[in-house]
């Protein structure tokens, strides 16, 4: 992924290790293990009552590209060894593909439902993305003053008011288990998640992400528009089904006179009064904060019985056991931040 800031990930859920190689990060950026560890800890399972009980410690090691706490300009390899492997949990799914899960398509494409090749692989693979994303965030922060923050803005039908114009800091986001900075709303979300868990069910949600400090001029005018790169990054996260930039689908319901962001003189630059463009015009950043909303479907693996068929087409009732998240959005917050950072870092290098 990426043209100049290139991220390659590796690793299976039940293999030896997962990791990422980041190629293209400039020399001289401060980077230490604890920078990476902090975001991994926000993603790791078992961190609160709202997440799966699988307890991976996910300790990261920096194998290359960094010397004395500073990047060298060479490829940076970040590795996390797997600890809590229980391949046995997934044996059922090689016969009965889980509805709305990758089990069947993987089998149709590769001929196998490998416990390590598929299954939970996809979601666990985000460990590598979060690690790589920290490198991108350090580069963007140190080199360009960009700050990225994401939070849970909806869980099921519980929706939080839009605060993209005045985004919280990460500590505020982390102050609730639901990673929603509005405490009242966060309680309702937590309750929604716990209800779903008790019902053996799962629930979807929405994450809002704001990138502040992006200078004007990032993004390419044609196929690599800034929103196309960000959209592709987000839509490559497991369970994402929708993406909006700025006013998104709401724009489609508006008149131009309502939707247009009028220009106004701001300190030292021309800014906009409103930000329905979400910080991007014509595919290129305009200096206003970049605002995105990302829709996550409810996790496919549920404990409730499902009337489906096995690989041979025979009707079966599937009741999944194992340890699964009833809702992914609280843990997906650092993943969204990582993907935003990787897409922006690439755009930053392209614009230089």
């Amino acid at each position: 992924m990426g043209r100049l800031f290139v991220v390659t990930t590796f690793g299976e859920s039940h293999g030896v290790a997962l990791g990422a190689v980041v190629d293209g990060c400039p020399a001289g950026i401060p980077l230490i293990v604890s920078d990476v560890q902090r975001q991994l800890d926000r993603r790791r399972p078992g961190q609160s009552a709202l997440t799966t009980s699988r307890a991976e410690k996910d300790k990261v090691e920096i194998l290359s590209g960094v010397e004395k706490g500073v990047t060298l300009g060479t490829p940076i390899c970040l590795m996390v060894r797997n600890m809590d492997q229980r391949p046995g949990d997934y044996s059922t799914f090689s016969r009965i593909p889980r509805p709305s899960h990758a089990d069947l398509t993987w089998k149709l494409k590769y001929g196998i439902i490998a416990s390590s090749g598929g299954g939970r692989a996809s979601a666990r693979e985000t460990v590598a993305r979060v690690a790589a994303g920290v490198v991108a965030q350090k580069f963007l922060g140190v080199g360009h003053g960009v700050e990225i923050v994401a939070w849970v803005s909806a869980v099921g039908k519980v929706e939080m008011a839009d605060i993209a114009d005045n985004p919280p800091c990460r500590d505020e986001v982390d102050s609730t288990d639901a990673r929603c900075p509005d405490r009242t709303c966060a309680k309702k979300m937590a309750s929604e998640i716990m209800k779903a868990r008790k019902a053996g069910d799962s629930v979807g949600g929405v994450i809002t992400c704001v990138c502040s400090g992006v200078p004007p001029g990032w993004g390419e005018p044609l196929f690599e528009k800034m929103q196309a790169m960000l959209g592709a990054a987000m839509l490559s996260i497991p369970a994402v089904k929708g993406f909006e930039i700025g006013a998104g689908f709401k724009s489609a319901r508006m008149r131009g006179s309502q939707n247009n962001d009028l220009f106004v003189r701001k300190s030292g630059r021309i800014g906009t009064v409103s930000n329905r463009s979400g910080g991007i015009q014509g595919g290129i950043s305009n200096g206003e904060p970049i605002v995105m909303r990302i829709a996550f479907k409810p996790p496919a693996t549920i404990a409730r019985p499902q009337k489906t068929v096995d690989c041979d087409g025979n009707p079966v009732i599937l009741e999944a056991s194992g340890r699964h998240d009833p809702c992914v959005v609280p843990r997906a917050v650092p993943v969204v931040e990582a993907m935003a950072a990787i897409a922006l870092a690439d755009a930053a290098l392209m614009a230089e």
Copy 2:
């Protein structure tokens, strides 16, 4: 754009010609000028009362890659000469950037608001995409039996019922000026557009696109998930602000037990009862139709006076003249079909 089915476009709105080079299309695919011309005619301005009065004939010429009506496997160059150039129409915008338009970001990035470099350029550039998309559609149709159809499913607040499970054919779509196959709805949409035009305003809309016949196994499991490639393709179309695959943002409001697509035996394969996944699971096509919704904002150029600032930050009232679309979605239908086809053609070659 693309890894194996690679499309390069060229041309400015007011330059000599626009076009596309398609590299990677296999040999032996039937392709004649009228195939391309048909889709260009669906995109061209001046085709109905709902579009701009700029009347480009947009005659396409095939310069290479085709002999005796069949592709050779070599790069295919498709060219459309510009006829109706009036660069003068855009001189104002080099001083006063249009709100929510690319004028300012282009100037910030490249230092110039060239009448031919920026301005309407971006939207006119879709001529090249439509032409390239026809090559992709021929390859997908002949080689794989894939059919792609898009239609207008919303204009402003007028929304059509969801018919993705039973999509219309292109003739049905074209039977109304609004390119909405529901005639009652189409009338309301046309009225909505005419009202906006009379008010010197513009209006947004939504296009739904269904790709039938996509075999299981297209799309890559990590960064190049099928929905990520389709999302990037759609978000690279000018004015697109949102993208959904399958149930999209609705999924975020659902429980897993409501959202999951249960498997069922279909003729010769395992299919799903519902299609909230939109034909993609785990980033890979599952054999069901691929269903997308794409949100277009209202065109930024409106005749109504806008209180904004010029390039120096001085307050001005901008009243745009010139010939502009009050709503882009009717003409954007073939553009959406083209981008879907280009992304799918690349995935098809990757999967082989």
Copy 3:
């Protein structure tokens, strides 16, 4: 070809047109038709007694990316229409593949020996490269002060003394039909070529290319070393069989104490006393001129009878008719310059 300075070519020898799209050239570079035409005229057939009698005028048209003689930063499309098409000349070769020619491999790969798809296609395709190379040379010249000159340094067994340390200008190169700046040597080369033609035969040769003014720091340290990019560019020219940077194969015969380029203070920078490195150390330009030698085999199509087999494996005697070059190196000089420029332009953008 290229990561940031991306060149796409199109066109078949006997099709409608050939051309190139150059994507990534910065805005503001002066470029007019005659710049391109001059190099095309140096490449075109029929320019002297030493070349084929096929007389293409090869008039170039700039379709996009340039306004008022200056690049816009958008893709530049350059097109040359074919005039002198005689597909009939090549009909024999669809049955009897020419030895050491692409006829057979093309047929094995694509299933057809198309008169327009294969055959002379490959060599004529260099029209597009020369055109694209002019854009690269203008960018390198205006933006970076880089000058590129190539000349014929050997034809068959006639070899010219090494003058890479003091390269000629293009006018000196063009002062002889053989494009060899040493007039005595040039006469011998011309005689060698005429002898081969009279014998119904062909002859190989070597081109030396020097790029002066390349600043230190171009080229990437690992897979995209400057010499790897230049080597790939040259080895993609039809008929090229060998590539050397600096002392090349001679280095393999030397001791380190003979081969090393000792450093010395030069005006304002650290230079080297000798230039056996050919301007590149560790894959990165060092500020000395980049020096390459490129070996071309004799053209495969000869009039002398050849004892070979047809596509079915039956023994035949092949005697080719038609108009063919007895030696490609005089006309290949601008092609070598173009490929050097394209590779360097990409490295320049990567280094910025």
Copy 4:
């Protein structure tokens, strides 16, 4: 490196670890640690009297992409931890750049001569290439019956007769320390190397590489010709200064009637009598063995005093200490095999 068979390497000479991620290798290819270890042992230092005394064990670990000895189709990460790190050895070179070494260009490009970022880094980085090359060789061997063997065909002025038509096996190559299958010649080479070492000097050499069993049809007709991809791969190896395919520079001295490879019926296919094309015609493999010659310069780091200047341009006499190879070609044999395999594996996937 690569479009479909993508190799990313990481690691510095004096960092924690080196390695490679191979993305694109199909599932189902047998791969075990000892496969990789065997080639690493052929590359490792300290293996014979002809190499440096730095004794890295270079034990490889497979971190991902392989389960039960078979590839999964997911990215394969191979890692080698560094053991024998002595950064102190290189401190001098941060002040006095070694002639014909990357020290100065690295400093000019990145601003630092990091002991771990530059210096010996480049040569040690080939550990990762050798490891990745084994994956490519297994894929080519199992999937396509391709066999790759390289040997030392020249050291300084000692040249071995051409045996490309009848290449040795790897055991024969390894039967001498010089990795030259001709024992008489190998003795002379060993003596040449020992003489250079005693003189505090170094010496260059040539490696010949033959790839047998490559089916017709690999390679792309334009910029990604098979020889261009192989040439770029070889020229990206540290110290390589020249590359020939087939008869190479000798072709330039020949007439077409001498150089052409006449076709002949071979068992079940059309082959060629001679192989001056080196297995490639028109950029596409023709079914004959692919034959290459690669020129390596003498190592730049020598113990003999060199009259040069330091980073400030002040004259100094540089006498390098430390442990260095007097000649790289014996150890470079598996590196050449690896690069050939990686380029061919990519071409194989492109051709499918």
